[in-house]
């Protein structure tokens, strides 16, 4: 029976790997569980407003929560720190097609990454567009068939289903790109191309990616990339030279680095879409780590109930003890209160 299971797992892994969605059990041993509670009814949506797949979530310096969601149309909503609905940002916007990420920079500008329009869009805190990276192809030629075959060479200013955005302390912009390309691109603060690591081609070597799915930058400017298809987080210096990789915490779906003098790195071994048999037993948890890769603790598990996760796509960690989690398949955003005392104990470990 056990042999059968193993064979089955190998088969499933092979199938999944084809779709760059390989899921794996974390190899880190004896990781302390961090206790937490999920706040009940955190986001208060007005009647007639519904979240779809909760793809992106981020907070600004006031604690306001931005949710980039795939509803009938892709939309961006703002809530206050108590979860009260504030407004819709970018209503009907040209670049809103299929949500993938929202992040808020140190000046409270709101950035969204849309993998349907291939755009990274910067809003100022008032909610007006102030910069656009990438170009959405004109539709005037009419609907065309989905392109097949190998990806064309990656271009400086054109994305192929980009996934995420981050900034270093100087304001340089880093974009993970994405499902079509397999690279990370660095731009200056005015959006001028500087360099890239990776290419349009997927790969397993250091500095290559198979679906770079999320990105974060620490206070020293080091760049952390969730290399989801390769089940690792790759770390680069500010010039995108490879430094190291963390490979013991399962599939790296998304990454968040908390601010402040002592920064923590959070990464999610999200359970896979479709809930294949056995997947809930080995995936679904989130890891808290030091920037150097030391695993401090883990929390959460795959579940459709409140407090559990159903395919975590992104989370906010501005406060490392209050994690706001967006899930694909439960169409919801949860606020998790981690128990600081326990966290300190695990830190001591």
């Amino acid at each position: 029976m056990r042999r059968f299971l193993t064979c089955w797992c190998i088969l499933v892994e092979a199938l999944c790997a084809n779709a760059a969605h390989a899921q794996m059990k974390a190899t880190a041993q004896n990781v302390p569980e961090i206790p937490y509670e999920s706040v009940r009814n955190f986001l208060k949506l007005p009647p007639n407003l519904y979240l779809g797949e909760a793809i992106g979530v981020a907070t600004n310096s006031k604690g306001h929560v931005f949710v980039y969601t795939r509803s009938a149309n892709t939309r961006l909503f703002e809530f206050d720190q108590n979860g009260k609905y504030v407004r819709e940002v970018g209503e009907g916007l040209y670049g809103f097609e299929f949500a993938h990420s929202v992040r808020v920079d140190s000046e409270d500008n709101i950035w969204v990454v849309d993998e349907g329009s291939n755009l990274v869009i910067k809003f100022n805190p008032e909610g007006r567009v102030v910069m656009v990276l990438g170009h959405r192809p004109e539709v005037v030629a009419g609907a065309t068939a989905t392109a097949g075959g190998p990806a064309p060479p990656a271009e400086k200013y054109t994305f192929s289903r980009p996934t995420d955005v981050a900034w270093d302390p100087q304001g340089n912009i880093f974009v993970s790109d994405g499902y079509g390309n397999n690279r990370v691109v660095k731009y200056d603060k005015n959006g001028r191309f500087l360099k890239q690591v990776g290419s349009e081609k997927a790969g397993k070597e250091p500095g290559q990616f198979t679906l770079p799915h999320a990105i974060a930058v620490d206070g020293k400017g080091n760049v952390y990339v969730s290399d989801r298809g390769n089940n690792r987080t790759q770390v680069f210096d500010n010039d995108l030279n490879f430094k190291t990789a963390y490979e013991n915490v399962g599939t790296a779906w998304t990454v968040c680095i908390s601010p402040g003098p002592h920064q923590y790195l959070f990464t999610s071994n999200s359970n896979p879409n479709g809930n294949p048999p056995g997947s809930w037993d080995i995936t679904g948890e989130i890891y808290k780590m030091e920037l150097d890769g030391t695993v401090l603790g883990r929390f959460g598990h795959a579940s459709k109930q409140l407090g559990g996760f159903q395919v975590v796509h992104m989370f906010d960690c501005r406060n490392p003890n209050e994690i706001i989690v967006a899930e694909i398949e439960s169409w919801r955003v949860q606020k998790l209160m981690l128990k600081p005392a326990q966290t300190k104990i695990s830190l001591a470990n």
Partner: protein
Amino acid sequence: MKRYFLSLVASMLLPGMAAVAQSVPEIRFDSDPGALKFPDNIHLGEAAGVATDSKGDIFVYTRTGHPTISIGTSRAFAHGGSRLFEFDRNGKFVREIGQGIYGFLVAQQVRVDPQDNIWVVDQMSNMVIKFDPSGQVQMLLGRKAEAERIPALPLNRPPGAPGGGGGGEGPPAPRGLPGAGAQSDIFQRPTDVAWDASGNIYVADGYGNARVAKFDRDGKFVKSWGSKGDAQSQFSTVHGIAIDAQGNVYVADSGNKRIQVFDPDGNFKTSISNVGSPSAICITPGGHQYLYSSNSNPPDDIDANGEIYKLELTGQIVGKFGRAGKAQKEFGTVNAVDCRNENELYVGEIGNWRVQKLTLHP
């Protein structure tokens, strides 16, 4: 070496061309970051067209979304995707014009004629729509394809091939020189519109065709000229059109990197080059007219081109300003220049989804 260079330049110039490659003076300029003020729920997409009327009101024709396709019983239909907004001279939002109208699919250009009628050119519905100053439709040129083929037919099909331009099921392509189009108001991805002093209408047509079509003031077809190519009176992407007080027609022949000048009957007069690829052109009103021409960067590259030239109507370059980029005072694929005031320009950008108000300090 110098002689060789000069003769090389001379050989590239057509007779009568005045502009000569030389160091071009930079024109200092400022950009007003708050030129247009938007209601919270109104956002520009790609700002394809911008124009002012005689009161200084500003009209912006913008791609606010992609057209949506709905599924009929046997055909697919395209709806929406662009909007036309009006702001007053201080940038305050006034109104939306043509909300939900049949022909607004992919915004290409807006121009305002001397009587303050507002003319919109839509690249996908293949229509030129004239609104009177109150915002009522007054005249239409062209017809939107009834339905869309999915997947679309390839663009630039050989003459006589079935299907219309712009991915739609339009009328059959005419037999004749490639790009010459039909002798009618059937456009293929038109780009711009202009009028002479008598009110005759000239349509730049366009991406799909390679011709200029002339209509009388009532919209009756008069003639058209041009076909695809790089010879005199041929075009490679007719991207813009403007007319001076004498009725001369200036055509931005973008793919051939030149502005061709014709008399009102379409007879070739001269050609202006060495200003890059003219993408958006504008002629100032008044006694001494100037021509502005934008060498717009491609939408997927901000490390090339982007500058706007100011020229005499003879083609002599007065100066240039700006470069491609995303910051204030940089340009992201300028698609429209309004020059009702010689030193106060409005530019509409594809790449940066914005309209900048520029004050030149010549």
